[in-house]
């Protein structure tokens, strides 16, 4: 039944409605201001250029891993082999060593090597090492599960708190491990890499 109350919007409801509209108007104006600030050229430039230039990692072609760069992407490729291979970046300085956590986000795609918990061909790990006076004091790894048939990239992230350590630099290590005693020929493409000191 349509209640009687629907017939006349009472005074209290009018006041509440007006307050809601005024509050939203203020929020909306703040939102517009925020949008315009986000769109200013400086903010936009900071946003679009915040990724690390992959060439600057100085990741060498090493052993059986070939590292190449194309249109801003970094490609790692390797032939079929039996034993673990790895390559590591140059030691890169932290810009804000006074911060507490390092987070590395990567967009990586490549030849399929996983389907849920089942692994095939090879395993890929990326390790972030915190470096203090040239010595690795802490590290953390993430497995790169390449689950797609269409080699589309996915976001992988490593977050490594300093926990009392005073690192002044970091290093990235790429490790290819065998599955069932063998590494198949494979490749992967890192499309972007973002390093955040939090």
């Amino acid at each position: 039944m349509i209640r009687q109350g629907m017939d006349d919007v009472n005074r209290k409801e009018k006041i509440i409605s007006a307050l809601v509209v005024i509050g939203l108007l203020l929020l909306s104006l703040l939102g517009v201001d925020h949008v315009l600030k986000k769109d200013d050229p400086q903010s936009m430039e900071r946003f679009t250029n915040r990724m690390v230039k992959l060439e600057s990692l100085g990741l060498p072609s090493k052993g059986n891993i070939a590292v190449t760069y194309d249109q801003g992407f970094m490609k790692l490729a390797w032939p079929a082999m039996d034993t673990q291979v790895e390559t590591q970046s140059a030691i890169l300085p932290l810009e804000h060593p006074e911060n507490k956590t390092l987070q590395v986000d990567m967009g990586i795609g490549g030849r399929k090597n996983a389907n849920g918990y089942v692994r095939e061909g090879y395993q890929v790990w990326v390790e972030v090492r915190l470096i203090q006076n040239g010595i690795a004091v802490k590290s953390k790894r993430v497995e790169i599960l390449l689950e797609s048939e269409i080699t589309r990239s996915r976001l992988y992230s490593i977050r490594i708190p300093y926990d009392g350590a005073k690192p002044d630099a970091y290093q990235l290590r790429w490790i290819i491990l065998p599955v069932d005693g063998r590494i198949d020929q494979g490749d992967l493409v890192c499309e972007y890499l973002e390093v955040m000191e939090l």
Binding site: H34, F47, E147
Partner: protein, 435 residues
């Protein structure tokens, strides 16, 4: 309206809901648990994952490329996933938790279905509807990956509930909750715009005077405009169009002109070849947005050609062929817990038959319909017809699934007393024979 005699008490309903939600939660946890970083289909869900993480880090709305602001999605997913990631993170262990949290929204939808069922029919119908919503494998699968459909259908169910409830039993708070659900749903999909006309149709059917609902309608328009103003300004800056809606429908529109009866000659592949050749000639082959826009415009031309060449075929296709094609497709994006697609399809078709019975059974058995009973049906009909200009993809049917489940549950609630009566009758007959 009196409740049917064959109904649950409030206490019974609560117990059933607890059991259903527990089962629904376990299913969703197991569906996610099969994947070490949560389910990722490397489709739109991958783009949303990126968008949520980028929004959390930068406050910018992006899609596949994390350093390019995008106009192909609404603000809903980046904000929602950004909030979930803020709690759990998007590192592998956090992603699992985020997937489960996201899937939990599916359980909220089931709760909304209970409320709607109880409002429009009986607690029994509500409990059965919530069981369908929580345990249907199509929805479990949809909820377990990051798709807009999960929050969208939840908000549409609650939006409809709050609006209907406020029409039946007016309270401003309820109405504002409906407006909030509507605005939030709009942030995920423009199809939310279909919600207010359904309520309006009901008000007109009830012959409620204009002066009584107009202030509320104005309030809805003003609030929606204020909520989406910053987003429209943002779209103006980024994609050059002052609109709250995403701009990515071109491909689906073009594809839709190759489905149905009497559509113009040519194939989709030929069209793409032609349009891509044009993009290369004019030097915008890397501009995906421009290319998708071209496809939409070409699709529009083909639609006009279709109407001119075969108007009857066009009408038949868009009024019947495509809507029915869409309605019979359950969305099952990912094989979940080894349940085959064939079984999901079969369950869905049973639900459709039950829903049809649910819609008709009241009339067939001579019962007076409950107030607002047909409002979800209007929403369902509009939601099936409006996207019929596009290609009928199962994903477009996902948001319709809860409303089909609602009527299927009503069908069961209407059918149970009949079975019960028949059983009593046959028992009586047997007793008479034996004496």
């Amino acid at each position: 309206m009196n409740r049917p005699p064959f109904d649950l008490t409030k206490k019974q309903a609560v117990w059933w809901l607890v059991v259903i939600f527990a089962l629904g939660f376990v299913l969703r946890v197991f569906a996610t648990y099969e994947w070490p970083m949560g389910i990722n289909h490397f489709s739109d869900d991958n783009g949303y994952l990126n968008s949520g993480a980028t929004f959390l880090k930068t406050g910018y709305v992006t899609y596949a490329k994390p350093n390019v602001p995008s106009g192909v999605l609404g603000p809903g997913m980046p904000i929602l996933l950004g909030m979930i990631f803020a709690v759990f993170g998007y590192q592998p262990e956090g992603l699992m938790a985020s997937h489960v949290a996201f899937a939990g929204i599916g359980l909220l939808t089931a709760l909304g279905l209970y409320l709607l069922g109880a409002l429009l029919h009986s607690r029994l119908a509500g409990v059965v509807a919530s069981a369908f919503g929580a345990l249907d494998f199509g929805l479990v699968s949809t909820n377990s990956a990051f798709y807009t459909e999960t929050p969208f259908m939840c908000l549409m169910v609650f939006g409809l509930y709050f609006f209907l409830k406020s029409v039946l039993d007016w309270r401003l708070g309820r109405y504002l909750a409906g407006v909030a659900c509507f605005c939030a749903a709009m942030a995920f999909k423009g199809l939310a715009l279909l919600l207010p006309p359904c309520i309006l149709a009901y008000l007109l059917y009830r012959r409620v005077k204009l002066s009584k609902w107009l202030p509320q309608a104005v309030l809805l328009v003003v609030i929606s405009a204020l909520v989406f103003l910053p987003w429209c300004v943002r779209n103006q800056q980024i994609i050059g169009v002052f609109t709250p809606f995403p701009t990515s429908q071109g491909d689906q529109k073009l594809l839709g002109t190759y489905v149905g009866v009497g559509y113009p000659d040519g194939t989709y592949e030929e069209a793409l070849e032609k349009l891509d050749a044009m993009a290369w000639e004019q030097g915008y082959q890397t501009d995906t947005i421009h290319r998708i826009k071209d496809r939409g415009e070409y699709g529009q031309e083909r639609l006009a050609q279709w109407i001119a060449q075969n108007p009857l075929g066009f009408l038949f296709t868009h009024l019947l062929y495509k809507p029915v094609s869409l309605l019979i497709l359950p969305f099952y994006p990912h094989k979940t817990l080894h349940v085959p697609l064939r079984l999901v399809n079969l369950c869905w078709w049973v639900l459709l038959v039950l829903a049809l019975w649910g819609v008709l059974s009241g009339k067939l058995t001579g019962k007076k319909s409950y107030p607002g009973f047909y409002v979800p049906l209007i929403l369902l009909a509009l939601s099936v017809w409006v996207p019929s200009l596009m290609v009928p993809l199962a994903r477009y049917n996902a948001a319709n699934m809860p409303f089909v489940m609602l009527y299927a549950a009503i069908g069961i609630a209407n059918g149970l007393p009949l079975i019960h009566r028949d059983k009593s009758r046959s028992l009586q007959e047997r007793m008479e024979k034996s004496t």
